[in-house]
């Protein structure tokens, strides 16, 4: 796997191949991974990690402080090996959780640009929409039960569900609308915590989108409850804020109620809005159409953009990661191209709430729903120590095993 290919790897699958010095558990707490202990100076800019012994890369080479230092350097960090430990000099205050970021994974970079990690699986084949993983026999966590994993990206939700039903796949991502059908034929449903934000994002500089009253009117016109109940089959949460309740604890302070009368008053005489969404995403299409119906009721006309790039507002999905509120908020800010936060990297709830409130008050972004990752698993697929899907939406396939094939 090359660097550019690694970037295209499904984020949920990344931890199966590449590991970090530390990792977050499902509650967001840091726990050791490749590093077993650590210390830092008073400014939290100089970190020193002692590596886990007897860890080997997937090519069989041992994990050394030099190799880890080579992988962690860059992006504002300087790292060296000293006394069998890895010393990292950061350009700013750095938290321990930052070392759990997948972007700070430890890997070997070969002369041909290929990347080799320490995770329970190694990439043996990589194509545009297909990847083959093989078990890392000498993984420090223990050899995975599965000998290999074949991953196929893309396809529509009904197609994936059909593959699951026909036993062409053992684990597929499903949408809320397919859950009932998957359960009907005996599939197990694995659901993460709400880790995806679905939101409307206005594009600055567009005449219609620059109308603050129209933005607020659109926000007030949307019937989140009906969408959540029918289209999302109650899988997820209505979102008034950016971070989900499980991550921030204050999401309920943001209003999600509908006020059509006020929306109608605000939208009087407003121009039509061009709404863009991912046409290949069936759920996004249905939500967008429902939003258009709600908007029409409030006197707002939503239409498809005449050309790519002409959208006044777009229906976007953004993954909420990692399971640390301030980092997740920063990640959403980057994904949604939000303004600079007032309190960057501050773990204080008041600061986070103030930042969200500031970002949302002009309605440039209208949070709609926090959605979970939902997977349908074959009845043949079993989990041993940990479930196949963490609350954070990450895959843990190393502890899965399959029933034997029926003759």
């Amino acid at each position: 796997m090359e660097v550019r290919e690694a970037r295209a790897l499904e984020p949920a699958a990344w931890p199966m191949v590449f590991e970090t010095l530390v990792e977050l558990d499902e509650s967001g707490k840091v726990r050791p991974a490749l590093a077993v202990s650590w210390r830092h100076d008073a400014s939290s800019k100089r970190w020193q990690f002692r590596l886990r012994p007897n860890v080997k890369f997937q090519d069989g080479s041992p994990l050394t402080a030099e190799a880890a230092a080579a992988a962690l350097g860059g992006n504002g960090w300087l790292s060296t090996a000293a006394g069998g430990e890895v010393v990292v000099l950061c350009d700013a205050l750095t938290r321990l959780a930052d070392f759990a970021d997948a972007r700070r994974a430890v890997f070997l970079k070969g002369e041909d640009g290929t990347l080799t990690g320490t995770g329970p699986f190694r990439v043996t084949q990589w194509e545009a929409r297909r990847a083959m993983l093989a078990a890392h026999e000498e993984c420090w966590r223990g050899r995975p039960f599965l000998d290999g994993v074949a991953m196929e990206m893309g396809g529509t939700a009904p197609q994936r569900l059909a593959d699951l039903e026909l036993a062409k796949a053992e684990l597929v991502e499903v949408g809320p609308g397919e859950v009932r059908r998957a359960e009907q034929f005996g599939a197990k449903i694995w659901t993460s915590s709400p880790v995806i934000l679905m939101a409307l994002k206005f594009e600055p500089g567009r005449p219609a989108g620059d109308n603050a009253r129209l933005r607020e009117a659109l926000a007030l016109s949307i019937d989140r409850a009906a969408i959540l109940k029918v289209l999302l089959q109650k899988r997820g949460e209505a979102a008034g804020g950016l971070l989900p309740q499980w991550l921030s604890g204050y999401a309920g302070l943001f209003a999600t109620a509908r006020d059509v009368e006020r929306a109608r008053g605000l939208a009087a005489g407003a121009p039509a809005l061009a709404l863009a969404y991912d046409a290949s995403d069936g759920l996004a299409r249905m939500v967008a159409e429902r939003i258009a119906v709600n908007a029409r009721e409030a006197g707002i006309r939503l239409a498809a953009p005449s050309a790519a790039g002409n959208a006044d507002v777009s229906l976007a999905r953004a993954r909420i990661a990692p399971a640390v509120a301030e980092q997740a908020l920063e990640g959403l800010g980057a994904a949604l191209r939000l303004p600079e936060l007032l309190h960057p990297a501050s773990p204080e709830l008041e600061d986070l709430y103030a930042d969200e409130r500031a970002v949302l008050e002009d309605y440039w972004v209208i949070p709609l729903f926090h959605l979970p990752e939902i997977y349908g698993a074959s009845p043949r697929l079993h989990a041993w120590a940990t479930p196949g899907l963490l609350k954070t939406g990450e895959w843990r396939l190393e502890d899965l095993w399959l029933d034997a094939e029926q003759p």
Binding site: R180, Q233, K234, E289, A292, V293
Partner: protein, 587 residues
């Protein structure tokens, strides 16, 4: 224009008129028959369309009834009848059912009017559709304006209830009345269906479509559509397209509550009939043209057959007019023209006989007149001769002494009378010996002036009252070819006649004038004038109205004029003078 030409034109006009009339009558009858046939065909096509439309209605009703009666629908109705029902499992149900039953539109509506699932607008779940409850009481499919995300369409809708233990689930299914629906109708050849669906006031060409899409030239149907919309009743109109006419039956489409939703136009092409009528018209025109040509040819032949004898008769008449009384026409037909020819030949035969008899009579009369005139002329000198000779005889016997004197006087008398006799004989001799004219360029004006000068003394002679001479010569007259001596002699005779006609004096007027043929000479007097009978006989030789005239003067004048191929005429009334007019050719 000749009689034959006129006859030919008359025949040709008659033939053309008859052919044109026949063609027009045939064309009109054909057109009428075609229009009747087309009306019947259009009515049949419209009836067929109505049956097809009704069939689709029934098909829709059956489909909706089948959905309403399906086990899955009843189970859904039962599930939704529970408290706080969950619509989520059924949100896609309408789309699947619509696809399975071939419906464009399908909505599943809960008992309280809430849309559970919508095939045409999936995102409309949860909204109210109260109209469904009212429509479910009807049995027939009806038309409805259906709002969709991007447009408002016209639809044929049927609503049925799926009853589950007293709890209704309404099934509202339908077809979009659009180009696809129009294309799905099974229509006979030559027929098409157009749909006008526009809720805005005024005509919109974009709102008129057929199975192939927007209708080209839709503006031609604007007035019909507007009229149907305003009067809300069916109408029929024939529309002329560049490729032929088309009859449209416009049917207003009303909704369940009578509201006008659109106009359906059932078009029946008349192109084939029009082409057939055109072919018949062309064939008629060709036949008429051929008939006209044939008629003209036959007219020419008939005119020739008819006018040949007439022209023969005309030729004979012209010959007779030219003096050839022996002219004959050779028409052998036994019809009226043959009878006319035979009558003509008989007439000329009779005329010749009459002319001969007249000539004979005139000759006898002329001889008698000549004898009378000769007798009269000769009697006057003979009587003095007889008296003189008797005087000589008596003087010889009774007065010998005076005989010499008497002899001398008598001899003088005898010589004078003999000279007189000689003069008389000479005049007759001159008339008999009129020579042929020696033509040369002659100035007629100069001859007139010379004659006036010659007779000037005589006109003012003291023996009678003076005669005033008045000369009016045309300076533009020019020279004519004539014998000057004979013309002078003729003019002198006319002047002498005029002088004789004015014993009490008067006015003599001589006038020349240029004419198209040559020259005209007028000699007028203000004398006693002549009666009509005298005028008719005036140029007869030896006829005279004067006591001592020979009757040869005007005969000589006429002879001179005739020898010059001219004409002489006279106008006179008693008491109002006489005018002689001579026409002489220029060459």
């Amino acid at each position: 224009m000749t009689f034959r030409t006129r006859l030919l034109i008359s025949f040709a006009l008659a033939v053309v008129g008859t052919a044109a009339l026949a063609t027009w009558v045939v064309s009109a009858m054909t057109r009428h028959a075609f229009e009747q046939a087309d009306d019947r065909r259009s009515a049949a096509l419209v009836a067929q369309f109505r049956r097809e439309f009704e069939r689709r209605r029934q098909e829709l009703v059956r489909s909706v009834e089948a959905i309403a009666a399906a086990q899955g629908t009843l189970e859904m109705a039962i599930a939704l009848s529970r408290p706080e029902p969950d619509y989520a499992p059924y949100v896609d149900q309408a789309g699947a059912l619509a696809t399975a039953h071939g419906l464009d539109l399908l909505e599943l509506v809960a008992q309280d009017g809430t849309i559970v699932s919508s095939a045409q607008w999936p995102a409309r779940f949860g909204y109210q559709a109260e109209w469904v409850k009212e429509a479910a009481d009807g049995t027939e499919a009806f038309l409805k304006s259906e709002e969709l995300p991007e447009e408002t369409v016209l639809a044929m809708i049927a609503v049925r209830r799926a009853n589950a233990g007293g709890n209704d689930l309404y099934v509202a299914g339908g077809y979009r009345l659009d180009r696809d629906f129009l294309g799905s109708l099974v229509l006979p050849a030559g027929m098409r269906v157009l749909l006008y669906h526009n809720f805005e006031p005024g005509f919109s060409a974009q709102a008129l479509t057929d199975a192939a899409g927007p209708v080209k030239g839709a503006e031609r149907l604007a007035s019909l559509i507007e009229k149907v919309r305003s009067e809300r009743r069916e109408m029929s109109r024939r529309i002329e397209w560049p490729d032929g006419p088309e009859t449209f039956q416009a049917i207003p489409l009303a909704g369940r509550n009578g509201e006008l939703l659109g106009v359906l136009l059932v078009g029946s092409s008349r192109r084939e009939l029009a082409a057939l009528a055109a072919r018949i018209r062309w064939a008629g025109a060709l036949a008429a043209g051929f008939g006209i040509l044939l008629g003209i040819g036959l007219s020419y032949w008939a005119a020739e057959r008819l006018t040949g004898p007439v022209e023969e008769l005309a030729r004979g008449a012209r010959e007779v007019a030219a003096g050839n009384w022996n002219a004959r026409v050779s028409v052998a037909s036994r019809d009226e023209l043959g009878e006319m020819a035979r009558a003509f030949n008989s007439m000329t035969q009779e005329l010749i006989g009459q002319r001969d008899r007249l000539l004979q009579a005139e000759r006898v009369a002329a001889w008698r007149e000549l004898a009378r005139r000769l007798a009269h002329e000769l009697k006057n000198p003979l009587f003095p001769l007889q008296i003189t000779i008797e005087t000589l005889q008596r003087a010889k016997e009774q007065a010998p002494g005076e005989f010499d004197e008497i002899f001398r006087e008598s001899a003088a008398t005898l010589l004078a009378e003999l000279a007189n006799l000689k003069s008389i004989v000479g005049r007759f001799s001159d008339f008999a010996k009129m020579p042929a004219p020696q033509l040369e360029a002659v100035d007629l004006n100069e001859i007139v002036r010379g004659a006036v000068r010659l007779f000037a003394a005589q006109l003012r002679s003291g023996e009678r009252a003076a005669i005033e001479a008045e000369v009016e010569c045309d300076p533009e007259l020019g020279a004519i070819q004539a014998d000057p001596e004979q013309v002078t002699r003729a003019l002198h005779n006319l002047i002498l006649n005029a002088i004789d006609a004015m014993p009490e004096g008067g006015r003599l007027r001589l006038r020349t004038r240029r004419t198209e043929a040559g020259a005209q000479l007028e000699v007028s007097d203000s004398g006693l004038g002549l009666t009509k009978e005298e005028c008719e006989r005036l140029f007869t030789p030896y006829y005279t109205t004067k006591r001592h005239g020979t009757g040869l003067g005007l005969a000589i004048v006429q002879s001179v004029v005739a020898d010059h191929r001219g004409k002489i005429s006279v106008e006179s009334e008693p008491g109002r003078g006489t005018t002689f007019r001579i026409e002489l050719p220029a060459g």
